[in-house]
Symmetry: C2
C-alpha cells in the first residue's frame, strides 16, 4: 500500500464545505465593491521579483516570498501582494484608462511565513483601489467599502472596527517633537511594536532608537491622544465624509496605527476584531501617492486596502456568523427505479433541468432506500420516483424530505410542483 | 524615468474587460456543473512534486511543470493539473465522504510550455469529476455536463463536438491485430500523432513502432470505422444515455481519440471546434479507475474532464459569441455639484445604495460636463444631479443617458425612478 502524499505545509484544501466559506467571502467582497462601482480585475500570479523591489518592504521580498528560477532561468515569484501588479498594469495603459479608476480583485497570494492561527502560506486576498483622486473623501469611500463588507457579514461596530490615522499628521507631530526625518521609519516601527512588547522593554527600545526621555514622553502622550484628529483637516473631512456615507460608527481614530510598508503617504487604516479572538488585523490600507512613479508610470494618486481570507474566516467562525451552506447545489434527486427504467430517469432529469431546476440523477439502479439515504445525506429536499406504475399513468411521485409527505403529479407538471415544494 | 517591469512570459493580465470574459466562462461552467448536482471544491495551488509521480505522464512532471525548492528545502510545484489533488483529498477522507461523489472546480494551473495560440503558461481550468460509480451512464453524465456548457455559451453541434472512444474497445481491437500489450502505449502515441504528420512520415513511424504492413492496414481500417462503437456494449449504452440526456447531437464516435495520459481505462472523449479556428482540444476527459489506489487510497472508480479557459476563449471570440459585458457594475452616477454640496452627494449615494442600487459617486466637485463625460465613458445609464435648487426643493434630477431625457423627482422616490429607468 502506497502512502498518501500530504499537502504542502501552509496550503489549504477546500472540501465543498470550506469552498462554500471561501465563496461566501468572495461574494460579500464582490457585493461591497460593486455597490460602490468598482470593476473587477486580476493580475498574473507569477511575477518577476524586480517588480516588488520598488514598493514592497525588504522583508516581504527577501524573506517572505516564494522565489525561484523558472526553466528559462528567469527569477520569478508567486505574488506576495497585488499593488505592484496594479501599478504596472495601470502604468502600461496610463493614457487609455478612465479616471477616477476603481478596481477590485479577489485571488490567491503566497508568503513563506511560519503558519499559525490567522496565517497560511497560500491565502486569498481581497484588494480594492481607487486611482486618480487625492482627497479625504476618496479615502472615506475606501473605508466605507470595507465597513460595508464588515456589516454585510454580520459584524457589528462593537465587534469589528476600522482604526484610522494619517502619516502626514504623524510626520507633523514628529517634527514638533524634533524627531528628524531620517529617524521616522525607526520611530514608526517603534510605535508599531508597542502593543507586542512589555512597557519596560518598549521604553528601552525607544532609547535605542535615539529618543530622549522628553521625546519619549511626548510620543507617549501623542499616542494616547484620541482627539488629535480634530486638529488635522484631512481627518476632519474624512470623518465628515464617513458620517455622510453612513459608516461613522465603524471607524475610530487611533494614533497608534502605523502601517509597516514604507509607501503610505496620507490616511492609513486597519480593521480589528474587538472581541479578542484574533489579534492580527482583518484588513489594512491607506493612501499611496508614489506607487505609479515607482514602477515607471506618471505620478498618480491612489488609495486602497487589502483583506486576507484567513483572519476574517476565523472571526466569523468564532462569532457563529457563517450562515449554513447547502451541501449540494441540486436539491432534487431523480431516482432510478430499476435497470429497465434507467434511461427514462435520465430523460426525466433532463426535462426538469430544461425547466431550470438543478437536478441530480442517481447514477445507477441501486435499491430505492439507498437512493433516499443518499438524498438525505446530501441535504436534498425533494426525491422524484418514476417506477413502472407511475410511468404507465404518465405521472411521477414527489417526496418532500422536509415533512415526509408525498404526492403524485402529472409528469408535465413535475417541475412546477417541485418549484413550489422548494419555496 | 524608471522602466516598467513587464509581466512574466506566458502569464496573462486581466483588465476589467478580460476579467469579464474569465468570469463569464467560470459562471457558465458553474451553471452547467450545478445543474447536474456537482459540488464546488478546490485543492492547494502548490503541491509536492511526488504527488504527480503516480499519475501524470513523465513529460508533464519533468519538462512542463514549474518545480522549485521552497525556503524550507522542499521540492514543490505549481499544480499542472487537478486530479492528483482530487485523489489525495478523497483518499484522506475516503470513509467519510458520500458516494457517488460529484465535484467541480475552476482555478489556476501552470505549465512551462512554449506560449502559442491557445496555450499560456498560467491558465484557468474547469474540472468536473464523478467518483464511486463505474457505468457508461455515469460517463454519459460527464459528457452531458460538457455538452450543456458548450450549448450554454452558444456553440451549436455543427460548431463544436465531443468525440468519444473507449480504451477497452481499442485494446480488444489491438488484440485482434496481434499487437502485444507492451506495444500498446507506442501504438496509442502513433494514433495520437496521425493528424499532426504527413501520411508517409506517419507510415514510417508505424514501421518503427514495430507494426507489420498487415497490422498497419488493420489499424488504418480500424481508425476509419465510424461504426465500430456499435459492436461495444459500453458505447451503445453510452449513446443511449446521451440520447436520454438530450445531448446526442453534440457527440460522435471517433476511434482516433486516444488520450495521451496513461491512466484512462474506459471511455475517453475530447471536444473540438469544428470551424477550424483552433486545432487544440477545447476539453478532454475519460474514465480512470486506478487513480485513488495510485495515491494510496482504496480503489475507487472515477470519470471526469478538464477544460482550459484559453482555447474556449479564442473559439468564442472568433465566433463572435462573447456577449457584451458592462464596463462598470454600477450603472448610476451621483454627481457632486460643488464643494458645498459634496457631503450631501455622498449621503444621496448612500441612500440609493441602501435601496439596493450599485452607485458610483464622483469623487470630487469637478465641472459637471466632466462628470457626465465620465459616466458616458464608463457606460453608465443614469446620472443623478442634486444642486442647490434641487436640494432646496427636496428633489433630484435624473438624466437617462440612453435617450438624453431628464426628470426631476422627489428625493425619497429617486431609487424607484432609477430602477424603472434601468428596466
Amino acid at each position: 500500500m502506497k502512502t498518501i502524499i500530504p499537502a504542502v505545509k501552509g496550503t489549504r484544501e477546500f472540501y465543498p464545505e470550506q469552498m462554500a466559506v471561501r465563496n461566501y467571502l468572495a461574494e460579500k467582497a464582490r457585493q461591497a465593491a460593486e455597490a460602490f462601482g468598482y470593476q473587477e480585475w486580476d493580475g498574473p500570479f507569477l511575477e518577476k521579483i524586480d517588480l516588488y523591489a520598488a514598493k514592497s518592504g525588504e522583508e516581504l521580498v527577501k524573506e517572505q516570498s516564494f522565489v525561484f528560477q523558472d526553466r528559462g532561468g528567469e527569477l520569478v515569484t508567486l505574488r506576495p501582494e497585488l499593488t505592484p501588479s496594479l501599478a504596472r498594469m495601470i502604468a502600461a495603459r496610463q493614457n487609455e484608462l478612465v479616471y477616477p479608476l476603481r478596481w477590485w480583485s479577489f485571488g490567491p497570494f503566497w508568503r513563506y511565513e511560519r503558519p499559525q492561527k490567522g496565517r497560511s502560506r497560500e491565502f486569498f486576498q481581497w484588494n480594492v483601489d481607487m486611482l486618480g483622486v487625492d482627497s479625504p473623501e476618496a479615502d472615506a469611500e475606501l473605508i466605507a467599502v470595507a465597513a460595508t463588507f464588515l456589516k454585510s457579514v454580520g459584524l457589528q461596530p462593537q465587534e469589528a472596527r476600522l482604526f484610522v490615522n494619517n502619516r502626514r499628521l504623524m510626520d507633523a507631530r514628529f517634527d514638533a517633537l524634533d524627531i528628524p526625518p531620517e529617524n521616522r521609519l525607526a520611530v514608526s516601527n517603534l510605535v508599531d511594536r508597542r502593543s507586542k512588547m512589555k512597557p519596560e522593554a518598549w521604553e528601552a527600545y525607544a532609547a535605542e532608537v535615539g529618543l530622549s526621555p522628553a521625546q519619549l514622553d511626548g510620543l507617549k502622550s501623542l499616542l494616547a491622544d484620541k482627539d488629535l484628529w480634530k486638529t488635522w483637516e484631512e481627518l476632519t473631512r474624512l470623518f465628515d465624509a464617513l458620517e455622510a456615507l453612513g459608516v461613522r460608527d465603524y471607524v475610530e481614530f487611533d494614533p497608534n496605527i502605523v502601517r509597516g510598508l514604507l509607501y503610505y503617504t496620507g490616511t492609513v487604516f486597519e480593521a480589528f476584531d474587538l472581541t479578542g479572538g484574533v489579534r492580527r488585523a482583518i484588513l489594512g490600507g491607506g493612501r499611496y501617492d508614489n506607487l505609479l512613479a515607482d514602477v515607471g508610470g506618471e505620478p498618480l494618486a491612489g488609495v486602497g486596502f487589502a483583506m486576507g481570507d484567513v483572519v476574517i474566516g476565523i472571526v466569523l467562525e468564532e462569532r457563529g456568523l457563517l450562515p449554513p451552506f447547502p451541501l449540494t447545489p441540486a436539491p432534487v434527486l431523480v431516482t432510478v427505479f430499476d435497470a429497465s427504467r434507467w434511461l427514462d430517469s435520465l430523460r426525466l432529469a433532463t426535462e426538469l433541468r430544461q425547466a431550470g431546476l438543478n437536478v441530480t440523477c442517481y447514477p445507477e439502479p441501486a435499491k430505492l432506500p439507498r437512493q433516499f439515504k443518499f438524498a438525505d445525506r446530501m441535504g436534498m429536499r425533494v426525491v422524484v420516483v418514476c417506477g413502472p406504475d407511475e410511468a404507465a399513468a404518465g405521472q411521477v411521485t414527489l417526496k418532500n424530505l422536509a415533512d415526509g409527505t408525498q404526492v403524485q403529479v402529472r409528469r408535465a407538471e413535475a417541475a412546477e410542483s417541485i418549484r413550489k415544494m422548494l419555496g
